[in-house]
């Protein structure tokens, strides 16, 4: 038995990197400290896909990696509108190869951000984002606002490591030195801890942001008595909490990005932070889901100029979520082959988009069986990044961390698999060119 320290958790966007595990016979047998319940579950693993498979007469049959990769390359090389989706639960090194593959085949490459914080990115493209790393919050933020986000359930270590419950240089007393405000449509375990909880009517976030902004800008007089179910008094209290803080941070979740006004809720949230900044110091940050959803966005941006939903049909990058995001391509029935990696659109896309997966050839690369495997024609199992393979990931605050390889494996890594597919595609194209 050996103890491995400083293990990086490959689960959510918090990317906790102080985890200790016990390894025995090439398996993580115990998580000693650092990980939350969800992280522990990931680190200790589940039932794996045993072998690559190809669907023959409706049934998945085991085959070799070579066969599966070759078949996948053939499908992709001839596709007219291929989609390469996922990329958030793998490392940046794999993402890079994926982008090169998309470019090679004139495909659309997109990651899970498009159904998660894609709208946040669109908002940043409108107005930018005053942000900071999580340690800055831990050391300075005396007002923490969670808006449409429930970290107690979705990012369980977040408050303890980085925000409300953590102790920092200028806030040695931890939560005694801080205030917590929560805006949500329902009571949550997070809202119960808050000094101010505004229970907003669904779909009214945009209005509430505008009201808080108007107060912060000095126009309390024009704000009506109630906005989105929140009395004016409470709106003014929230604005005053912002004004009186030394450093405020708003964390927002999908409660804001997925409801009415979507990306424009975030535009308004950012504008509200800018208005608060006229009085004090403020920052705002999306609560990113997958541990490397941000990493793909980073890599895709430096390689193509755009963070996700990039369409290479014409040889150069064209970016237009709403047209070039995965749900658009599947929901509108545009795409003719899909490669899915490190994600599960069958579980997370609207039914009509999922149904299109049933109509077209689907290649899936993943360590685990998941509902998308039900639709797959080619299944390629891979090593688990952060446990069996190493590489770069980007935390929700853009801090790059290298996840570790803790145990050995016979599975090929995502990076190797995609690289091999790319090589096969190039070989096919070269042959065609002759």
């Amino acid at each position: 038995m050996t103890v491995v320290t400083d293990v990086v958790c490959p689960l959510c966007g918090s990317v906790c990197d102080d985890i200790e595990v016990e390894v025995e016979e090439n398996k993580i047998t115990k998580v000693i400290k650092g990980a939350c319940a969800v992280g522990k579950s990931k680190l200790q693993g589940h039932e794996r896909i045993k072998s690559p498979m190809i669907r023959v007469n409706g049934v998945l049959k085991e085959c070799s990696y070579d066969e599966a990769i070759k078949k996948a390359a053939e499908l992709l090389a001839k596709a007219r509108r291929p989609l390469l989706y996922g990329w958030s639960s793998t490392v940046c090194e794999a993402d890079k190869v994926g982008i090169a593959l998309a470019e090679e085949i004139g495909g659309v490459v997109d990651n899970t951000a498009s159904v998660c914080h894609g709208p946040s990115v669109l908002a940043i493209q409108d107005v930018g984002i005053p942000c900071c790393t999580l340690g800055q919050i831990k050391n300075r933020a005396d007002l923490v606002i969670y808006w449409g986000s429930n970290p107690a359930n979705a990012h369980m270590n977040h408050m303890k490591r980085y925000s409300y419950i953590s102790k920092g240089y200028f806030l040695p007393g931890g939560k005694k030195d801080k205030k917590l405000a929560v805006v949500d449509v329902r009571e949550t375990s997070t809202s119960k801890m808050a000094e101010l909880f505004a229970q907003i009517e669904p779909g009214k976030d945009f209005l509430l942001f505008s009201a808080v902004r108007a107060v912060l800008m000095g126009y309390e007089d024009i704000v009506p008595d109630e906005v989105g179910g929140i009395p004016k008094e409470k709106i003014v209290t929230l604005a005053n909490m912002i004004k009186e803080s030394r450093f405020f941070i708003t964390f927002f979740g999908m409660g804001v990005t997925q409801s009415r006004c979507r990306q424009n809720n975030i535009v308004n949230a950012i504008q509200t932070t800018r208005a608060g900044h006229l009085h004090t110091k403020g920052a705002i940050m999306p609560m990113r889901g997958h541990y490397n959803v941000n990493g793909f966005n980073q890599v895709c941006t430096w390689e193509t100029g755009y963070p996700f939903a990039v369409d290479f049909s014409r040889g150069f990058a064209w970016y237009n979520p709403g047209e070039t995001a995965s749900t658009d391509l599947l929901g509108r029935g545009e795409c003719d082959v899909a490669l899915i990696i490190a994600s599960d659109p069958a579980s997370h896309f609207p039914a009509d988009a999922v149904k299109h997966l049933a109509r077209i050839p689907v290649i899936i690369i993943d360590p685990y069986h998941n509902p998308t495997t039900e639709f797959a024609d080619i299944v390629i199992p891979s090593a688990i990044c952060g446990i069996e393979a190493e590489g770069s990931v980007y935390r929700m605050d853009n801090v790059p961390i290298r996840v570790r390889k803790v145990v050995n494996t016979d599975y090929m890594s995502d990076e190797e698999i995609v690289e091999r597919i790319l090589e096969e595609v190039r070989a096919i194209k070269e042959k065609e060119g002759e």
Partner: protein
């Protein structure tokens, strides 16, 4: 006058995947002076490959034109996956018989596009001039900006016979949009100039606007950051007048929102 008919071939849209055709090369400016064979050879993008127009469309040419102004292109067949109709056109006329896909009339500078059906997102995106008529509904981001730009439509006129989706005229700086039906959330978002008339209902119009004019004749879900000024009469109708958006600060809040009195 020259009439060019382009009918999408049936088999093009009959596959399992409906792959969009992008026809920004098929504008009066570009087709003027070409004969039928030459038009058939004009390249259009179909997914990740370029094809001859003649392979995807039945092409017929009738009459002659002395300039692009005298060219009229008629699109027929299943147009629901035909994108960029009239994108960038400067002169002449396009008529689309049916529902059209995204970016219809985007960046157009002159001429006229008529859609005898609905138009999908980004119709009239960054429009500079000319006229766009959508007889049915317009989907979201009608006459909006491209991502990240601070300028949307700057000129021309757009009329929508039915309803319009979210963010009509986002970052609009000039020109006029008339919606006969309702407009979904955030019409005139971050508007900097020009005029939007909504004859039906509107939800939270005018957010972050700093200039320009929005007129709503139906019901309005108001933002909490507009200031009521008083009553004004426009074309013999009485309107409540608001100034905003005060969320942008008083110095910038120079947009006007008129709501017809019931």
């Amino acid at each position: 006058m020259q009439m060019i008919k382009l009918m999408v071939k049936d088999d093009v849209m009959s596959g399992v995947a409906k792959i969009p055709i992008e026809v920004d090369s098929l504008t009066p400016d570009n087709l003027f002076g070409k004969n039928e064979a030459e038009i058939k050879a004009v390249k259009v993008w179909w997914g990740n490959r370029q094809e001859n127009t003649g392979d995807l469309f039945e092409v017929s040419v009738d009459g002659a034109a002395g300039s692009a102004d005298e060219v009229k292109i008629v699109f027929e067949g299943d147009l629901t996956r035909v994108k960029h109709i009239g994108d960038g056109m400067k002169a002449g006329e396009i008529e689309a018989h049916g529902d059209v896909d995204m970016h219809c009339g985007a960046v157009m500078e002159g001429g006229r596009v008529t859609v005898k059906g609905n138009a999908d997102c980004w119709a009239g995106r960054e429009m500079r001039g000319g006229e766009l008529v959508i007889e049915g509904d317009a989907a979201d981001n009608l006459c909006a900006m491209y991502r990240g730009e601070m300028t949307g439509m700057t000129g021309g006129k757009v009329t929508v016979g039915g309803n319009a989706g979210e963010c009509v005229g986002q970052y609009m700086a000039g020109g006029e949009i008339v919606i006969k039906g309702n407009a979904d959330v955030l019409a005139g978002y971050a508007m900097r100039g020009g005029r939007i008339v909504i004859e039906g209902d509107a939800a939270i119009p005018g957010a972050d606007m700093i200039k320009g004019e929005i007129i709503v004749k139906g019901d309005v879900e108001m933002l909490p950051s507009f200031k009521y000024i008083g009553v004004e009469t426009i074309e013999a109708e009485t309107y409540d007048k608001y100034i905003g958006d005060y969320a942008m600060g008083e110095k910038k809040a120079k947009g006007t929102l008129y709501v017809r009195k019931k």
